[in-house]
Amino acid sequence: MAGESELARSPAWLRALYYVPHSFGRTTGMVDTPGFYLASAGREDPQQELAANLAAFRAPIPAKADDHALCRFPRRRQLIAAAMPELATGWQVVACTAYHDWRQAFPVQGASLVFSSNYLNNPSSMYGHTFLRLQRGNGASQHGSELLDYAVNFAANPDTANPLLYAVYGVSGRFFGGFSLMPYYLKVQEYANAESRDLWEYPLRLDGARLDALMATLWEVGPHGIRYWYLDENCSFVLLAVIAAADPTITAVDEFPLVVAPKDTVAALWRQGALGEPKRRLSAHSRLTLRRQALSSDEASLLVRQTGAAKLLPEVGALSPASRTRVLDALLEWIAYDEKLAGTRRPEKHRQLWEETLAARAATPSSSPLEATPGAHVTRPDYGPSAQRLTLGIDSLSGQGADVLFGFRFALHDLTSPAIGYAKDQEITMGDFQLRAHRQGKGRYAVVPEAFTLLRILSIPAFDRVTGAFAWTLTLGSERRLDTDGAPWLMHRLEGGAGVAFDLFGGRIYGVPVILAGRLSPASTQPELGLGLRSGWTMSPSPRLQCGLRADSDRTVAAAVQPWWRVAAFASFAVTTQQELRLEAGRQAAQPWGARALWFRYL
């Protein structure tokens, strides 16, 4: 039937069945539990699936009417009825009580895509997480409390608490992920309060019919599981597929056949005009920072003294009401942040101080609304480059004429790049593979490894007595170095350490001593232990410009070999959102000064 094959090929039908492009160009259904696809080849053949659904819609009504396909698949029912209304008139009348009760219990008048940004000192949190907020209501009230809205979340259900196993299983699709629907305040507690991550709420541009379709598709896919593939079928990608199932004009889901970072899904939807201006919901740490910024220097030092005390200091009572209000509010935020007060957690370290501060604040009737800043837009997740990038460069740091550098990185952000859309003091690199075409003579080049970084993390929060933040780093990878005779060798190591960072001359200076294990010298035949230092100074004169200095050194503990060191100055400029130019000048031990120019193309 003409209408039938047209519908079977339509984006609306494919999206409703959660057909997505995979690597190697195949497009198949991504739901992994039985009962979602009714045909035996329903995951690969949308036409066969449509035929199976049509047959199921005509089937007799079972004892439990809610089990009938017309009740289980309201989204498919909508699409078929719209494409082939003459068929729909022949369907039996079924009382889908469960679906109708569910719709009545959760009246929805809007939806937002929510992105949880990074939190302090955990660079891997920069990947972020996305979920949906469904705004409750029937169109009448615009002043309901957002906390009472609903959150729709897709997450893996891991069967291990071991973080290494979790990482391996998560990448290899061993976990199933499932959907959940809960009060929005639970998500706010989890992300904004317990983990102290800002939440960026982007309204989805969905009209009434599309909102209806969103609820219908959630009803269909909600009870089912999807294998969780951290790289390409993670929370953000599944949510993208849910939004596309409700609004088939959204093509962002086709942009990620290989890997997807949650931040990139937000950017893709933004580019497509599917999102409205975001609102930033402040984390516990952001609220604390704002409250502290409102303090005078005397109030700020009183706060620092107060954080070291178990009870409220008498000086607080002697302050003017306005001053007392500010200090008490900052103190309340500090206790909530320090104790991670969220959910059912109650204060333990500062229990008495918490009670006394609350009582004192309640006795001070002045109000102190939090002046939420619009949020430096450079940190908006829809801003900034994608996670994956290509590198192309020219390098004369080897001192032997110009070599060509080229490479590819899977993710995510490093501190030598302008921090647009990312935190300015956190770096995480995963899967960065750089090669060098080394000039061996006129017209002759040899391709050699330059640097393979499996994982590199560097976090340099400014030291702060109130939050106690320290700097740290972890790296697993290899890099090409030159020995005292200028001969290249590959250094392999796992290194890690903790240090300190603070603000200086308008930028951030850091020093992190590290311990290394691996091949740390050219002549070594077995793994060695070493010590080193990773340090630098980085500043951003304007949002699109990042510059600074780096100084690294390490040596084996055996001390039989000269320590290695490298210093460099760099400047990076974001030419466009997805293109960056970097210039470096530097030298390493026993080598002359050299320069390097790199071009990054984000994908």
């Binding site: 009545q104 409390s145 953000s236 059912t344």
Partner: protein
């Protein structure tokens, strides 16, 4: 991955509950209130790049959902609805107590506004909840004389009976 303690295990769908199911059990949220729910962050998370909340994902399944609380009801169901609203307030307090207390002490804020909403004391046209917030600040000590959400909920109910202006 967050390591949860004492995770919620199940919530009963209350859509077809008998007429006598008033109160928290009828709302389907009763089993939640007794459970702890907080999140531990530790260094293990450095390997986890995306945060995957597992807060009761079986509990909060899409179709089993949170509850059928708050649905419009016929007069004969009014008692059930009232029981459901009370359960909603208790659960809200259970999971947001620290922030509700802080907002109450300040006499303003999103969490005290949310509680006002749940008590029907927030003006849905203007969004104002000032009377409720002022009451919570004035009677802070007696309202929050316990960490038990059930007790705090009852304290608020009694206070609203005595202070009718607060819910204007």
């Amino acid at each position: 991955m967050k390591i949860l303690t004492s995770l919620i295990l199940s919530v009963m769908l209350s859509g077809t509950a008998a007429a006598a199911d008033y109160g928290m059990a009828g709302c389907g949220l009763g089993s939640i209130v007794a459970q702890e729910l907080h999140w531990d962050n530790n260094m293990a998370q450095i390997f986890v790049a995306t945060s995957n909340g597992t807060a009761g994902s079986q509990t909060f399944g899409i179709t089993s959902g949170t509850s059928n609380c708050g649905a419009a009801a016929s007069p004969s169901m009014r008692g059930k609805v009232e029981g459901q609203k009370k359960a909603e307030r208790t659960v809200f307090l259970h999971y947001n107590l620290a922030q509700v207390r802080a907002d109450a002490a300040r006499g303003d804020g999103e969490y005290i506004a949310g509680l006002a909403d749940l008590f029907g004391c927030r003006n849905q046209l203007t969004g104002s909840y000032g009377g409720f917030a002022t009451m919570s600040q004035r009677w802070h000590e007696s309202l929050f004389n316990s960490n038990d959400a059930t007790v705090v909920q009852a304290n608020f109910e009694r206070a609203l009976v005595q202070d009718s202006v607060a819910c204007g």
